[in-house]
Amino acid sequence: MRITLVKKIKADGSLCRKCAEVTERLEREGHMGRIDQVLIADERDPQSPGMLLAREYRVERAPFFLVEDDGGETRVYTVYLQFLKEVLQQQTSEAEEATEILRDNPDLDFL
């Protein structure tokens, strides 16, 4: 399994808020070692590796994870807690997951 984390750099050169939060949490909980590579989606550069991957996988949110299994199949995770649970096999609370889904998917405000 190969895990890629894509983080976004905003037009002003700073890391996006959610990307910073996820990075901090990965480090704090000791999971950073499971990430094989970190790529940057730079808003100022449409050809940056992260932006190219976002287009290839039709991802519209950052950060996101690409998880390539040993068979070569790649899954995309845009919900951090889902990634944590399904890929890193960590316990997460359902309440925490529900809140994150809403925060990460503002279009769900139609509910």
């Binding site: 976002a54 519209e60 950060p63 309440a95 529900a98 809403l102 925060r103 503002p106 139609f110």
Partner: protein
């Protein structure tokens, strides 16, 4: 034709300019285990269109226990008018009790709406979506240009798919405007929520919904006390082209 993660983008492009009825036909032809998410507002047009294609179409609704009486009355009128069983999903009682005991009945005005909506909407929705292969929503691009500008008519649902369970989402009204929806409602004598007659446009839970004035955007009638949603995490092409 079966819809897969590989071909869904191509189908979305192919159906991008089709009428809602054609997109509904595609949805119902492609998935047997599919249901409409009905909020009790303008998305009632989806029910009207869908029963003409599949009279026993599955419909579900989320009852947060904080809806307006008018919304409950509409659910009943729709049930009677179309002869369909609307499956009503409720939040977990223990979760609601815990939230209310810890933070009171109006914590969303102070802490933001996500925690309450997570308990009252997202968790019951997730429970329902876990049983489906696809769902149909009334999302439209013009409802919120900030968060819905890129909504496709059909998409792989990354938010609710899980490992081993792929879920697809159809948004047949994606390209319709509010004016088109209301033209359809009037032309087809579709039942609608009485709150619309009193200035409500987007209708959700009672404490989090208010009427809007002429020319106010409908999103100003929902969670108006919160700051505009931060969009800094978006990776839309528009973000790039602006720079």
């Amino acid at each position: 034709m079966s819809i897969t993660r590989e071909n869904v983008g191509q189908l979305a492009a192919e159906y991008a300019d089709r009428q809602p009825q054609e997109i509904l036909q595609l949805a119902l032809d492609s998935f047997e285990n599919i249901a409409i998410s009905f909020s009790g507002a303008e998305d009632v047009v989806l029910v009207d269109m869908a029963v003409k294609i599949r009279p026993d179409v599955k419909v579900f609704s989320l009852d947060t226990a904080r809806l307006h009486p008018e919304t409950y009355r509409l659910l009943e009128r729709v049930r009677e008018r179309y002869g369909i069983a609307i499956e009503v999903m409720f939040p977990d009682a223990a979760d609601v009790e815990r939230l209310v005991q810890e933070k009171g009945l109006f914590s969303f005005y102070r802490d933001g709406h996500q925690e309450c909506c997570g308990i009252r909407k997202v968790r019951p929705l997730r429970r329902k979506l876990d049983t489906l292969d696809a769902w149909i929503t009334g999302q439209r691009r013009d409802q919120s240009p900030g968060t819905r500008a890129a909504i496709d008519v059909v998409e792989f649902d990354r938010a609710f798919s899980t490992e081993g369970h792929d879920l697809y989402k159809f948004n047949p009204l994606s390209n319709w405007t509010s004016a088109q929806v209301w033209q359809y409602i009037r032309s087809n004598d579709v039942p609608y929520n009485e709150l619309h007659e009193r200035g409500f446009v987007s209708i959700g839970c009672e404490p989090c919904t208010r009427p809007v004035l002429p020319n106010q955007h409908e999103r100003e009638g929902r969670w108006w006390w919160e700051e505009a949603t931060q969009k800094e995490c978006g990776l839309h092409a528009a973000n790039v082209s602006k720079d």
